[in-house]
Symmetry: C2
Subunit: 125 residues, 2 copies
């Protein structure tokens, strides 16, 4: 059992170009990419338009938001929905696989609340 788990943990470190879902290794590094976590956090609230994401994530550049959304699409975590109305409205929406990252995001938020050096300051605001 432990050996099987270690295979799961390690596999991506032994091959290049594997999908993130192939292993713990690929997944944790994918969601830990610069800005990725915050993008996922916002999309967990529901579908959002590009400019809404840009406005909500202070400090992210146009280039990086575009790049991250494309990477998420490639990994099957996000789909682009286009409405038929005029003007055309494009929204980014998490796929079921993307939505299942909620538990990971929640575990990190919980860890920060419990262990964060400054969480008391935030709580008292």
């Amino acid at each position: 059992m432990e050996e099987k788990m270690d295979n799961l943990i390690q596999s991506a470190s032994q091959g290049k170009g594997m999908a993130i879902c192939d292993s713990f290794h690929g997944t944790i590094e994918f969601i830990g990419k610069r800005w990725m976590g915050i993008i996922i956090y916002h999309l967990l609230k529901g579908p959002m338009r590009y400019h809404e994401l840009l406005a909500n994530i202070h400090g992210i550049s146009d280039r990086l938001l575009t790049e991250r959304l494309r990477e998420m699409e490639q990994q099957g975590l996000v789909v682009k929905k286009t409405s038929l109305s005029s003007p055309r409205k494009v929204e980014y929406e998490l796929t079921p696989k993307g939505k299942e990252l909620e538990e990971v995001i929640e575990a990190i938020i919980k860890w920060v609340k419990v262990n964060g050096c400054h969480h008391q300051q935030l709580e008292n605001k």
Copy 2:
């Protein structure tokens, strides 16, 4: 409430040199650094010597293992324990704060098991 949460999510993106525990943003990017997740995964099994970690994590370089362990020490996630016996034995051990990352690591492993493209192959091994 949502506003407070957004403060927690964003804070590290607005300052430099903050500790990882200051925000979700800093934390997810810290644990997503190259090899960091696998090191935490192995240390969750119990204290380990440097060469044991090196032997268990296929592909990691000496330099990166040293650097990651130092970063974890700086963030209060790991302590170096030195035995008084001869020869001196040095082990790396997760602090309580480090051990509390278990829930995050478990949530990611669970996500990979459910969503991993190749998990069926691994299960059948």
